[in-house]
Symmetry: C2
Subunit: 339 residues, 2 copies
């Protein structure tokens, strides 16, 4: 049942079940298999439920319109494998599929070997890193996930980009919810640059350089230049480390260009170090100690990363999700035209 | 042969061999075994050679004067072990010994299993993280090293510290030298706070809070308060992730307090992903591409982390190292009194 929300008439409220059906049908309409449509939609819905509306079903339109994703796809395959590792060829799939396959293989390998490194390249954008890490953490494992990408970030001292926005993320299993932390290593996200450029809005501070390498707050200039690393030399070094880890994920193997995405997971069972229950209890105590600290004036609560999105999700599972009417109509059309 | 340097009469220049002998003799003078003295001195000398003068032989005075290190020590021992992991009890040793043992065990385990996690707690300061990671990288392996420590860093929104300055470091084997990146997650290093307090010098910007949680640039106030994370929420989240990894290294096992140091290594052979030579070639190309980028005005060279210290070391191996005469005299006295 779709209800038009009285407060936001340009948006439609969908139950989770209806949203799943809409997403899956639209994807099948543009040629994705039943399984692929299910995997992609599950990720996108989870993004919406966690409060990342723009990372939700609207991404299906981006998938439909991406020239890269119109190129031939083939099943994700293992290029190299050991009991503690695997390197995958992502088959030119969107990361929602191939990175999910890598995360699931990492979980399988940790279950038998205690630890694993799994990398995948020849793939495109993968959505929210926490989505994959949450699977690993809910399986009971610790996970580190890095993603190297196309040149957008300018090394300190340089005029042109050579590094991706290169996020790094960590996840730990918890007594109830996992603790997950995910960060990019650019001074701003590339999506923010595009959004600011579209809105013709400057950034409040210098976050990039123009095409000539001159520092600028202007988003349109940054689109043709690059983003600077966050926090100076620390952000630069971290970005470079993530780029190097991306090479180990096969980032360079496809096109001989480091601009390719390289998705790497390192995951291990806490049991290889100590009883998992003991680790979870200690982690809970650490996080609770932090939450119990005396607070700065005006601070209601000391936040733990990933805590908010878990709460949001509970709430929205009941309330359903909001979708722009324009997006809803286009998704309906996709299933009608191609279905 | 010791030469008094004409340009710095308060300093003495020592050949590497003489410096090694001085360090080892002083340590044996205060009760360290032949082996322990060798391991500690090798690390301290390497710090000096890489240009970190204060992290060199003067640290022997700190070791001699640390009340914690006067407590009984026992050999580093394995508490828990699998083919891919080990948790060590550091035996109340200074980290120079126990963290070195952890790094060497990690190398052994990677040699047989392809990957390993090794943690050590019940230990004290460990010096330069890059020292341990360089061993791992020169053995041909990729390494990640995190260190959780005593509460010095204040979570966002809090008034009191709950996290260590919690460094995280990465190392990759190279065709010649490894690429190593090491960063702390506080807005400044604790050593800088102590130095500024000693010199009665303010920081140029707010890097901490006072005992009441009020933001301050004053180093003496920060000593009684805490340091803020670098880069706001990103630094806070990263610090928290490192603290959680420290739990897996056994940080809490000794005294039931997360303030203990927790040293963790994750290391793996690039061969589990791809031929090591291929990885090294790709890494060299990535770094060279960065060095070849057009540079900002006034920039002579785009720096790669760890590059400078490798160069310094080559130079200083020939020139020898400089030591404060006061430190030299004290070290001579240690070997005379106790030797």
């Amino acid at each position: 049942m779709n209800l038009i929300d009285a407060n936001t008439p340009e948006k439609i409220r969908l139950t989770v079940d209806d949203a799943v059906q809409l997403g899956e049908s639209a994807l099948k309409g543009i040629g994705y298999t039943e399984d692929e449509a299910r995997v992609i939609t599950h990720h996108l819905l989870d993004n919406s439920l966690c409060g990342y509306e723009f990372a939700g079903l609207p991404r299906i339109l981006a998938i439909a319109n991406s020239p890269e994703l119109q190129k031939p796809r083939y099943p994700v395959k293992v290029i190299h494998e050991t009991p503690v590792s695997a390197l995958l060829d992502g088959g030119n799939h969107v990361g929602y599929i191939s990175v999910n396959a890598a995360a699931e293989l990492a979980i399988q390998k940790v279950a038998t070997s205690g630890i694993a490194v799994v990398g995948v390249a020849n793939s495109w954008f993968s959505g929210r890193n926490a989505y994959y890490l949450e699977k690993i953490a809910r399986a009971g494992y610790v996970g580190i996930h890095t993603v190297s990408g196309s040149p957008m970030v300018v090394p300190i001292g340089a005029k042109r980009p050579a590094l991706g926005t290169n996020p790094i993320a960590f996840a730990f299993p918890g007594q109830v919810d996992p603790f997950i932390f995910d960060m990019g290593t650019g001074a701003t996200m590339w999506g923010e640059v595009l959004l600011h450029a579209f809105l013709e809005k400057d950034f409040p501070e210098v976050v990039g350089v123009d095409a000539n390498g001159a520092p600028t707050k202007n988003a349109k200039e940054i689109v043709n230049g690059g983003v600077i690393p966050f926090a100076g030399h620390k952000g630069y070094g971290l970005s470079l480390a993530v780029q190097a880890l991306g090479l180990l994920a096969g980032a360079k193997m496809r096109a001989g260009n480091v601009s390719d995405f390289g998705f790497l997971f390192i995951a291990f069972d806490p049991e290889i170090m100590m009883p998992a229950a003991e680790f979870k209890a200690q982690l809970a105590e650490l996080l609770q100690n932090i939450k119990n600290l005396p607070r700065q004036d005006g601070v209601d609560e000391i936040r733990i990363p990933s805590e908010r999105s878990c709460r949001e999700r509970e709430l929205r599972r009941e309330q359903g999700i909001l979708l722009q009417r324009r997006v809803y109509d286009q998704l309906m059309e996709m299933q009608a035209v191609h279905g």
